[in-house]
C-alpha cells in the first residue's frame, strides 16, 4: 500500500518536471511567434522597420526578466 503510494507520488513528480521542462522549451518558440506578430502589427501601423524591431526586442525581453525572477525566487526559497 505504502510502496504503491510512493511510486505514484514519484510518477506525479516526474510528470510535473516533464511538464515544466516542456513549457520551458516551448517558451522560446512562443516568444518568437508573439514578437513576430507584434512587429508585423507595428509595421502595419506605420512604424519604421528598425523601430519596430527595437520595440519587438523590448517586448521579448520580458521572457528573460520572468526567467530571472523565477530563478531568483527559487534561489531565495532555497536559502
Amino acid at each position: 500500500m505504502k510502496i504503491t503510494a510512493i511510486v505514484k507520488a514519484g510518477l506525479h513528480l516526474i510528470k510535473l518536471i516533464l511538464n515544466l521542462g516542456f513549457l520551458w522549451l516551448t517558451l522560446g518558440w512562443k516568444v518568437r511567434k508573439a514578437r513576430k506578430a507584434f512587429e508585423e502589427e507595428l509595421m502595419k501601423g506605420g512604424i519604421p522597420k528598425e523601430v519596430a524591431k527595437k520595440l519587438g526586442k523590448k517586448y521579448a525581453s520580458i521572457k528573460n526578466e520572468i526567467m530571472r525572477e523565477i530563478r531568483g525566487s527559487v534561489w531565495r526559497m532555497g536559502r
Binding site: 500500500m1 511538464n19 511567434k33 508573439a34 506605420g46 523601430v51 520580458i62 521572457k63 526578466e65
Partner: protein, 151 residues
Amino acid sequence: MIGDNEEIERKKRGMSDAEEVREILGAVSKEIPSLIKGIIASVFSEEAGRNMGKAAAAFYKELKESGMPDEVAIKMTENYISVFTSLGDLMKKFTKGRERSTKTKKEIEEIVEEAVEEAIERGVSEKLGKEIERRVKKKLAEKGLLEEEEE
C-alpha cells in the same frame, strides 16, 4: 496537541504520509503547469502579440498625427509598451514584498529611537523618553507595523 489531533484524524481516514504526499503531488502536477501555461499564454501568444502591436501602433499613429516629433513619439511608444510588459516588475514586487516589509519595520524602529534620543538631548527626562518610545512602539505594533516587544 494539534499534531496529535491531525495524526488521529489521518488514522481515522486510513491515510498514511505517503498517500497524502501522493495526493498533494497529484494535484500539484495537474494545476501548476496549467497555471503557468495560462500566464505565459496571456503575454506570449500570437494573439497577445498582435493585440499589443495594434495598441502600440495606434498610440504611435495618434502621437504622429498630433504633430509629435519622431524621436519623442518613439520614446513614448516604448514607455507605453513597458506598461504592458511590466510583468517582470510585478513579479519582482511580489517576490520581494516580504523583505521590504522587514526593512520598513527596522526603519520605523530606528526613527523612533532617534527621535527619543533627540528629545532626551533637548531636556526631556530619560524616563519620559523611554516611556514615549515604549508607547509609540506599542501603538505601531497594534497597527501591525512593528512586532510587539515582550515585557
